[in-house]
């Protein structure tokens, strides 16, 4: 399988001003490599500050990485000038978290969907109508003529998010970053949007990066899962393996934190990791998770950073417990 998109040792450091004279470095992403094939989804799971969104934005070249390479379809796009990047802008699309603010309230659904076509000078007005009709059918907003005339405020959260999906599809991209596409919609409609994305992925063989804080939803829309903590991948394997046999204490904690509907839940406490993710300006020494880790080993974990290593076939983890 040749990769559709390859991220090679991506580092994204931001300068943060502190007072008048000093700047600090915020290492949002600190050495991450991932590759995604056609028709494949990689779930990037992590909490606030893990760098998952930054990674997605780098892969779309919405941010220029401090170090590392973004290779799309065999071509290195890291250094290409914006003016020469129009083809990539068509190939790679994003779906964003907030269906309430990512659609222009003054545009009808039809105009929202037509805008990318106008910008990329694709087709005549008549062809636009056809493409818009097709995209709306793809996201199951039918009858399409009716939805095309609506404004975002006339739609429910789930419907708006589907307009967002339709907009990302209109240029027939090969790669889509879906950044928390279902976190702001009702629990009962999440699966609807995710199964829609899955269907489209199979139909058009799109490669997806599915970014989420909710490992439960990534189970339904990822072949592989990368768990991120403070800018690094701490565990990486097939989705089923990460969920059923998690190795990293952080992954284990993330999974323990998610309840299934069960009347016995209320009878016992959930096992949780103490504290909160530290500020990425002040990354702990050694393993970044060591101050919160229930299985912390003194004189080891806080000294040197563990590298991501394959400890079982196809299962990578960055933790001294396993090597």
């Amino acid at each position: 399988m040749t990769a559709l998109i390859e991220l090679k040792d991506i580092k994204m450091h931001f300068k943060v001003r502190k007072g008048w004279f000093s700047t600090l470095e915020l290492k949002a992403v600190d050495g991450v490599s991932i590759s995604i094939g056609r028709g494949n989804t990689i779930g990037v799971v992590g909490e606030s500050g893990s760098g998952k969104t930054t990674l997605g934005r780098v892969s779309l070249r919405l941010l220029d990485p401090t170090a590392g390479k973004v290779v799309f379809d065999g071509k290195d796009v890291t250094e290409i000038k914006e003016s020469k990047l129009k083809w990539f802008r068509r190939e790679a699309q994003g779906i964003f978290q907030d269906p309430y603010s990512s659609l222009n309230p003054y545009m009808t659904v039809e105009r929202i969907l037509e805008e990318p076509l106008v910008i990329h000078k694709i087709g005549s007005h008549g062809e636009h109508e056809e493409l818009i009709d097709k995209a709306l059918t793809d996201v199951k907003l039918t009858p399409t003529e009716e939805f095309a005339r609506k404004y975002p405020h006339m739609l429910s959260g789930g419907q708006r998010q589907r307009v967002g999906v339709a907009r990302s599809l209109i240029l027939s991209p090969n790669y889509i970053v879906a950044d928390e596409p279902v976190s702001m919609i009702d629990a009962s409609s999440r699966v609807e949007v995710l199964s829609l994305l899955r269907g489209l992925q199979e139909k058009y063989q799109i490669g997806f990066m599915y970014i989420t804080h909710d490992i439960a939803t990534s189970k339904y829309f990822s072949q592989r899962i990368a768990v991120m903590y403070l800018g690094r991948i701490v565990e990486f394997a097939e989705a089923k393996i990460v969920i059923e046999e998690p190795l990293h204490p952080y992954t284990q904690a993330l999974i323990a934190a998610v309840p299934d509907p069960d009347p016995n839940n209320r009878l016992h406490d959930r096992s949780v990791v103490p504290g909160e993710p530290p500020n990425p300006i002040n990354v702990p020494s050694g393993c970044r998770f060591h101050p919160r880790c229930p299985r912390f080993m003194k004189n080891k974990c806080e000294i040197e950073e563990p590298e991501l290593r394959e400890v079982k076939p196809g299962h990578q983890v960055a933790c001294y417990l396993y090597y």
């Binding site: 629990a187 009962s188 439960a216 509907p261 949780v272 990791v273």
Partner: protein, 318 residues
């Protein structure tokens, strides 16, 4: 005696488009130390129900009817001023969605927690301070947090402060409206554990509102499922989660992603109706896979197929 007994609650909003029938025929009870999970999709009247109970009403109220008995006393007929002084915060307190963003940035958080004491009781400042310090310990924050400001706290800490504010006057009932929706998963689990320990230690009764039935199961002894302004099913956690009767509840459960079981979740097609013109008969019938003739013409009666487990659905009687 029940802590809270709500009967035939009705709340309508008056808007330019017409009357929004946000809450109708709602009744439920909460016993001492019990937590009620109030669940349903957005726009089904969960928040409106507690707005009606606590009377934190917007200006465009069309109708507000029904009985709200708090430990046997009908508080729905109390004059507003009396309600504000004697009931709100003292007996029923609230934690609203996103409340942690409304902390005052220029007042120490401890002083903000102490404010209700000074407003409602004849206490001195130092007494109030003592009580806040004790409470900080209970909610899992070190004492020195009294003098912190909101910007120095993380989301999870701010949410703890908001919970402390709701507890400071020892209310008999605390209403939590999506208290963890803005938090990270691991912090959410910490807050849920805190709520569990408060339930155990202080015996507080709670209403926990969420659209996430799995999250509600972490705390709730009892469930009320709302759809389009009505409660469609009520029962114990065991009854509702393992033997759901109403097709809506069954679909809500089936649509919840499960981490520990290999089932592919389904979803509920469509969205909740516009409450300006709700569907006739059973309000769920246009989305219901089990609907038959009667459902579109007659409003379902309240059936009780097993003790304590009530459902509004023609499948169970009539």
């Amino acid at each position: 005696m029940s802590i809270l007994q709500v009967e035939d609650l009705k709340l309508h909003y008056q808007t330019l488009r017409g009357t929004v029938r946000a809450v109708e025929d709602v009744r439920f009870t909460i016993e001492k130390g019990e937590t009620l999970g109030l669940v349903g999709e957005s726009g089904c009247g969960k928040t409106s129900t507690v707005i009606a109970v606590t009377r934190v009403l917007p200006k465009n109220i069309g109708a507000l009817e029904g009985k709200v008995l708090l430990m046997g006393e009908d508080i729905s007929k109390l004059p507003d001023e009396k309600f504000r002084k004697e009931v709100r915060w003292k007996k029923i307190s609230m934690v609203f969605q996103g409340a942690m963003n409304s902390l005052n940035p220029v007042i120490k958080v401890g002083d903000q927690v102490a404010e209700p004491i000074l407003l409602h009781e004849q206490s001195t400042k130092s007494e109030a301070r003592e009580r806040v310090l004790d409470l900080l310990e209970i909610i899992g924050l070190p004492k020195e947090f009294y003098s912190r400001y909101a910007h120095e706290l993380s989301g999870g800490m701010k949410q703890r402060i908001i919970i402390a504010m709701a507890l400071i006057l020892n209310p008999s009932l605390v209403i939590l409206d999506e208290p963890t929706s803005a938090l990270d998963v691991s912090i959410q689990a910490q807050i849920m554990n805190l709520l569990k320990s408060l339930k155990r230690k202080l015996g507080i009764s709670m209403i926990f509102i969420t659209h996430d039935i799995a999250l509600a199961s972490d705390l709730s002894d009892k469930f009320a499922v709302m759809y389009a302004g009505n409660i469609v099913e009520v029962g114990t956690a065991e009854q509702v989660l393992t033997k759901a009767l109403h097709p809506y509840t069954q679909l809500l459960l089936a649509s919840t992603p499960r981490l520990r079981r290999d089932v592919v979740p389904s979803y509920i097609p469509g969205s909740p109706p516009d409450l300006v013109a709700p569907p006739t008969g059973c309000r769920f019938h246009p989305r219901c896979p089990k609907a038959f003739d009667r459902c579109s013409s007659e409003v379902p009666a309240d059936f009780e197929p097993e003790p304590g487990h009530r459902v509004r659905c023609w499948l169970y009687g009539g």
